[in-house]
């Protein structure tokens, strides 16, 4: 009796073990069938989906906060929220103060380098209508590349010295390139693990409190956006990047987004990072992702 029970157990065990092995081999076979490309694609989908959820939540926040504002109007910054400022801005835009900068930028853009090449040789589509593609994550370099950085790298590639990042000729070239992209839609992608890491660094910067005043970007441009800081209404972070470079009345000249970031950091008594530092590039990347679906409308004018 006992021996028959033991042999039955042995049979059941061997059957189970055999089946288990078979199942394992099937899984292994299936595993072998997944190509590296497919595996990469699945991983990138995971990152994309996470980022899509972030974008949805971010944009919903503003849609709920300002139900009367059209989504497309967010590209106009604070002028989407404050009627009085909007009227002044529209009057300024009748004779845009950045027009001369666009002309200057075009002449610089078209002027060949010492080796005979031009900026057009460095960019797809001759550098025209491509503003919405920047910033982008360069997989080979493993870092975020902004339009201004790409312009300077183009110069260096052709034996020219880099230009200062905050204003002047570089801002003018960037303004001209943006002007050729008016109306193009931002659709900044995050489709790899490295890109997702950079995106998260930007996100972390955006939500981290800084400076002696202990404010994060989000404190002013999300939580209290639309409210006044002394006489000025705080603009929404959604769409903040679309109009750069901008001609600010305060600066009385054209300036880049990273110049504005530095000013913002200094306002909360935080030591600003250098223009085109990794910190600011990642922040620009995060903000551009959040502004998906909005149009390029740079250069533009701001207070």
């Amino acid at each position: 009796m006992r021996s028959s029970a033991l042999s039955l157990c042995g049979f059941i065990l061997s059957l189970g073990f055999g089946f288990g092995l078979q199942s394992f081999s099937v899984l292994a076979e299936q595993g072998d069938k997944v190509s590296p490309e497919e595996s990469m694609s699945t991983a990138s989908n995971v990152f994309s989906k996470q980022v899509d959820r972030d974008v949805e939540a971010f944009q919903k926040f503003f849609i709920k906060r300002f139900p009367r504002v059209e989504f497309s109007d967010y590209q106009n910054g604070v002028y989407a929220l404050d009627q009085a400022s909007r009227e002044q801005w529209l009057e300024i835009e009748e004779f845009p103060p950045y027009e001369f900068d666009i002309d200057h930028g075009k002449s610089l853009f078209d002027t060949p380098f010492a080796n005979g090449k031009t900026y057009a040789d460095c960019f797809e589509n001759g550098g025209l209508g491509i503003r919405q593609n920047y910033p982008l994550f360069n997989e080979e370099l493993g870092e975020v590349i902004t339009l201004e950085l790409a312009i300077n790298r183009c110069r260096q590639q052709h034996g020219e010295s880099p230009l200062p990042y905050k204003k002047g000729d570089l801002a003018a070239i960037s303004a001209y390139m943006a002007s050729t992209s008016t109306g193009q839609i931002f659709n900044t992608l995050v489709d790899s693990e490295a890109a997702y890491k950079a995106y998260n660094q930007g996100k972390k910067f955006f939500y981290s409190k800084r400076g002696q005043l202990n404010f994060s970007c989000s404190d002013c441009h999300m939580q209290v956006s639309g409210l006044k800081l002394r006489a000025d209404v705080l603009g929404p972070s959604l769409g903040q990047v679309t109009g750069f470079p901008v001609f600010r009345s305060k600066w009385t000249e054209l300036g880049t987004l990273h110049r504005r970031y530095a000013g913002c950091n200094a306002n909360v008594r935080a030591k600003p990072f250098a223009a085109q530092s990794l910190e600011y590039r990642n922040l620009e990347y995060f903000q551009s992702v959040m502004s998906r679906g909005l149009e390029v409308n740079g250069p533009s004018s701001r207070k």
């Binding site: 996470q50 910067f205 400076g211 008594r269």
Partner: protein
């Protein structure tokens, strides 16, 4: 008789004057000894407090550097560091201590900002 009385008075006066001088000398000696001891003590205390101050300043600098490496620095910090160095050069320990305390508060706050930022990252990027 009169002369004897005068002489006696003069002797008494001289004796009294001598005693007083002795007392004064003793008092002076005691005073200077006390002063000397007190000066030594002040110098010792000053030396200790300056060493302590420099240690605290070094601690503050370390925290400030740590926070800056993690991406957090304030605009007023460099100015404060410059002022505290100047106060130490001028031997103005009271001012140096006041500034060091301010720097320590800044350093603590900056490390706190960096920690909160890291905590945010841990919460939001775990996926």
């Amino acid at each position: 008789m009169k002369l004897r009385a005068y002489c006696l008075s003069a002797l008494i006066c001289l004796a009294l004057l001598g005693c007083e001088k002795g007392v004064d000398e003793k008092t002076d000696r005691q005073t200077s000894e006390t002063q000397l001891a007190s000066t030594d003590e002040t110098a010792l205390t000053k030396g200790n407090s300056e060493a302590d101050l420099r240690n605290r300043l070094a601690g503050a600098r370390k925290k400030l550097d740590d926070a800056e490496q993690r991406g957090f620095a304030w605009t007023g910090t460099a100015d404060l560091l410059e002022q505290v160095t100047l106060a130490l050069e001028q031997n103005d320990l009271a001012r140096a201590e006041e500034l060091t305390n301010a720097l320590l508060v800044q350093a603590e706050a900056l490390v706190e900002q960096a920690n909160r930022s890291d905590a945010y990252e841990a919460e939001n990027t775990s996926s």
